[in-house]
Amino acid sequence: MSRRLPPQPGEWIQRDKAVEFRFEGREYTGFQGDVLSSALWANGINVLGRSFKYHRPRGIYSLAGHDANVVVEDRLRSNLRGDVLPIRGGMDLRAVNTGGGLAGDRYRIMEWLSPFLPVGFYYKAFHTPRRFFRFYEGLMRRAAGLGRIHVGARADMSRKDYAFCDLLVVGAGPSGLSAAIAAAEMGATVLLVDDQPRPGGSLCWQHLDAPESRSDLLEKACALPNLEIRSNTQAAGWYADQWVALVDDRRLTKLRTRATLVASGCIEQPAVFHNNDLPGVMLASAAQRLMKLYSVKPCDRAVVLTANDDGYLAALDLADAGVVVAAVVDLRPAQSCTPVAAEVAAHGIEILKGQAVYEAVVSRSKNGIAAAVVCCLDQNGQPRLSSARRILCDGIAVSVGWAPNASILAQAGTRFRYDSQLQQLAPHDLPRGVFAAGRVNGIFALEERIADGRQAGLAAVAFLGHQIEVPASVPRSRTAHSHAYPIFDHPHKKNFVDLDEDLQLVDLLNAHQEGYDSIELIKRYSTVGMGPSQGKLSNMNAVRVVARLNGQSLDQTGMTTARPFYQPVSIANLAGRRFHPYRLTPMDGWHRQAGAVMVPVGTWFRPEYYATKEKSRADCVLEEAREVRRGVGLIDISTLCKFEVAGPDAARFLEQIYTGRFARQNIGRMRYALACDEMGYVTEEGVVARLAEDRFYVTASTAGGEAFYREMQRWAIVFHMNVVLSNVTAHMAAINVAGPRARGVLAEIAEVDIGATEFPFAHVRDMVVAGVAAIVMRVGFVGELSYEIHVPADKAAGVWDALILAGRNSGIRPFGTEAQRLLRLEKGHLIAGHDTDPLTTPFEAQLDWAVDMNKSFFIGQRSLRIHAGRPLERRLVGIAFAYGYLGELPEECRLIVNRGQIAGRVTSIAGRTTVGGPIGLAFVRPDLAEPGTSLCIRVDAREMSEAQVVRLPFYDPDNTRQT
């Protein structure tokens, strides 16, 4: 049975474009422009979904995406809302959360169990014994949730845009259009957004008696080049400094506006009566949307429940569409009579004043309603059952009140107050740069909304700095458009305050009785307003209930907090295209071609080792290290942070930054440098090379150097130092050539004499290497003769190639970070951050030699004086396993145990080394730090291994190799 009406003026459907789709396994046809709910309703389908908890049949309720009655999924997508889901050919949808389909949903049994499941029952049961909870929890989890995930699904990549404007107007209804036009006419750049497919707001479905308003406003708006209208776009979130998330189906636009004007209208609110959730009961605005936008008849015989003129207008619209309006039931007492009521009466429609729909009667099919039971209201506004009367109908249109669509205003910090003339909330205190107009502002008559929009638009322009006259504010409506308490108790309950969560009036009463007496506690205990529509249709009535129970005003009761988002936003929209920038050294291509296994280090990628066919990682690493020990190797160390420190105070500055001495450092010399934080804990290490009296070249670690540089910049300001700091990390690349044959290799391409006496250990030279101006340092971390060659990044690849070529006969080969780590470990050099943690002092790390406590000041010195006066808690020591040790080696971070107590921790370990047996570094209790002490180290939960504390370094203790 089709409910499709003949063509209506302004309808959104395109009758020449039929759309075939499937729902619950059956074929249906709708039109392009239909949403799922309208298309199914047009096909005569009543049950479009099942409720979350009791699996009651549900149909159209708000038709605006403000309820979760119709939630569907397809093979890839979940939790789609049928009220706002445009149908497309080939869609194959089914309702979520049913037991074996919508029609025969097995979980309908939940409704019969409902008397045994009062609000919060789950807090009182099933917890003892604990075993039982596991079983019960399994049942609970099966019942929870709506749609299923689809592991194979991949959402389309969503774009992110940025936009800027002077004024954002939210809502393209009459007041929003009028505001946007007024502001744009004054020259402001205006962006007008609306979440509906077409602009016009309620003019599209409610005020068809004034069709010229919509066309006039749209015509004016379109003529203004500085006014952009975006439909299908929700203002989802408002954040500090007028930063607004605009979401459409393809992208997230991040808007920076200078002012925000909210004309988002109102959300029609339900009346609470028995069976107020069944298919056929719907908001009057939903009935109007259905008729005007989609040309679908809501029902054949309607009762209109109202408490304002809007309901009477809806009754006229229903009558126009050929629906028999059996009665208009008006909650207001008999005395009020308006012109529109007279018009309804003139249509011969019965008007029942001072009466309420007390219950909807379930139809025989159980899929809809058969009648409304109407009662007179007593002085307390409660139904007098003796007066009950049954009116046959298959639809009830409810128009008993509105709540401001306040999300964006509230997110922006607007406070709302209850207006007792309007009987609803209205903005009370607008933040700077935030404006409200139209129904959200408590103004209801169409002409006044347009005037209010204009006024607010001009006020916004004045705020933006235009010198203009702002007209006086439009006063709020004096008549109530909402009823103070459209909520009616019923012995058989099923009078829902929250349709999403299946919460009945009694649930709120019970929660209150149990002592959850504030709106926030009731919300959390009963879950009212926590469902997918976030209380858009339930919060207002819940507040009315709680206020009445507490004998408080609505302002005293308070609203729950508004949080982003206005409507749910997809994860793909928010994630957007994901950018993960990383940095590559100039030699990156070479490494990869040479088979390097790259690993992320900070924001960089570095070769961990160079893989050779049919050799294990460990073999490759050991070979690379051996080559350095016996021949020559080279490593790309471009990722090190590199700074220049220049100026008259440069030396004095470095003295204060680092723990060592630099003031008397000779030009052409370089030194190890250690830095601590103010608490005296090790933070950074590197080298400082003096290039001139007033110029130093400094290196720091790949991962920590950038943060260290920032701190250096700050200290330079705080210390009032006359220094210039430059971070040349990206500008300079660096290569370390190491091994006994390193000198020979470098000598081939260096244009100066680099003999042992001309260029000794711990010296730095400016020289030309392979035709490139370089800073070359004689360093010794790997324990061999080695040169650190720093060159401009754009020339570095050439220098690298030249080194490879020059080393060809010496068997030069590249080595990666793992071999470097092994070589450093053998030489007893700790790696800050690897062998130390954020609370390691230099004394614990055996770095006393790098700390000059006699200097006048350095960062951390004052605290180190305190540390020095206390007994050490641990020391970093070398450990060695017996030569030929065959047992399993402990991993790094395994514990050292002494008489059942934690006595330390391994920080570095190397199983295969160039120095014989396995070695490592470990923190141990000071009483275990003496060389020769035997340590028990955990290998796994059961096994222990044994190692000895040994003197550092493991390799070349007399430093004969690096000179």
Partner: protein, 88 residues
């Protein structure tokens, strides 16, 4: 996203900035007692109200001072370290 006014580069989005902690005056390390020194090291003002803070504009490497209401998260004033008296 918030906007912050860098004294050198003008108003820029928050993502270009890094917070650098409260501004604290270092006591004379040679004269301060351990108690005063560790109070300087560890304790913070942290309380509601306007706080003087270090902020860093990352792309340009600019450190500056901001006076910020840390309850409302409102930047009241920004200036370079040491210049607070001259710009009034």
């Amino acid at each position: 996203m918030k906007s912050i006014s860098c004294p050198i580069n003008g108003t820029r989005p928050l993502q270009e900035f890094q917070y650098g902690g409260e501004v604290r005056e270092m006591p004379d390390p040679d004269r301060a007692s351990d108690e005063i020194w560790t109070d300087y090291l560890f304790n913070r003002r942290g309380e509601p109200g306007v706080t003087r803070e270090w902020w860093y504009h990352q792309p340009s490497g600019t450190w500056f001072i901001a006076e910020r209401d840390i309850v409302k998260d409102e930047f009241l004033r920004t200036y370079l370290y040491g210049s607070e008296t001259c710009d009034e």
